[in-house]
Assembly symmetry: C2
Amino acid sequence: MKRGQQLEVIDLEGEQVADLYCVALDDRAERLSSGRTIDYNDTIYQTKGHLLYSNRSRPLLEIVHDTVGRHDFLLTPCSLEMFHVVTGSKQHHPSCYDNLTNSFREFGFAGDDIGSTFNIFMNVEIGPEGKLTIKAPRSKPGDSITFLAKEDLIVGLTACSDEQTNNGTLKPIGYRIIE
Amino acid sequence: MKRGQQLEVIDLEGEQVADLYCVALDDRAERLSSGRTIDYNDTIYQTKGHLLYSNRSRPLLEIVHDTVGRHDFLLTPCSLEMFHVVTGSKQHHPSCYDNLTNSFREFGFAGDDIGSTFNIFMNVEIGPEGKLTIKAPRSKPGDSITFLAKEDLIVGLTACSDEQTNNGTLKPIGYRIIE
């Protein structure tokens, strides 16, 4: 994405999650930082008006439109290792991490450097003692969120492969770039 | 730290915070991951019995003793940029990020790669709508937490420079390695 462009992500069928990660085009060591974003916005739930910051504290994206208001920024993308740790299974499973890594590779960006993704429409609630519960997304068909690029960016986006996040129904995700 | 060694961190005077980050000795691209740890433990508050995972899902540390039970793993270490963003000031301020970066540099590990630190004794509460509140640490003089190294590690530890985390009273932090 070029600075000034907007990315609209649309939940076409409802209750689907899409993981987003991005790095600066001019220096790929500068990348999306969940920890700095949560710190500066003083909230774990980012929505319209919030900036998403890099590990160097520069705003990379601004949320300019959001019909849902519930997204996760605490968790890393689902990965083969995650399925193994969580389920105990050793079988192959598609994952957001593999999708992002395979797409970022041609831009010289390694999987080790993918931190916590901005997990669009993912509905994670925190109990009083800090316990996490992954609930069905609040998004209905046609719901959307729009990000304004504050810098030139390489952006990775993937529909989520984890049945746990999307109420057991794997579905596509829509997006478009607005010039 | 060598695998099998333990690191005890002691709050000598009470209400002080210490930021910890670590990477694998044999491959410094493998490093502490807040997002994977929170995911696998299903809680934002890590305490005795919890493993702290790497970005490759290997356990790097295990919390084997903890007299406080309230630590933060959501936020990046305080940094000069954080003080500028949060306070609007452009003045210099010491920071955990600078302390960690300066110490990691000799091990060939860059500041860009420091993600969310494990912020020992830092007391961050989450309101019902996701809002963060930084409260005084629950730790009293002599309180401690002990980590068991599950791999050979390079570990950075710093007393916190942010008056907001330690009830306005900057203090030293104690530690010892148990063979």
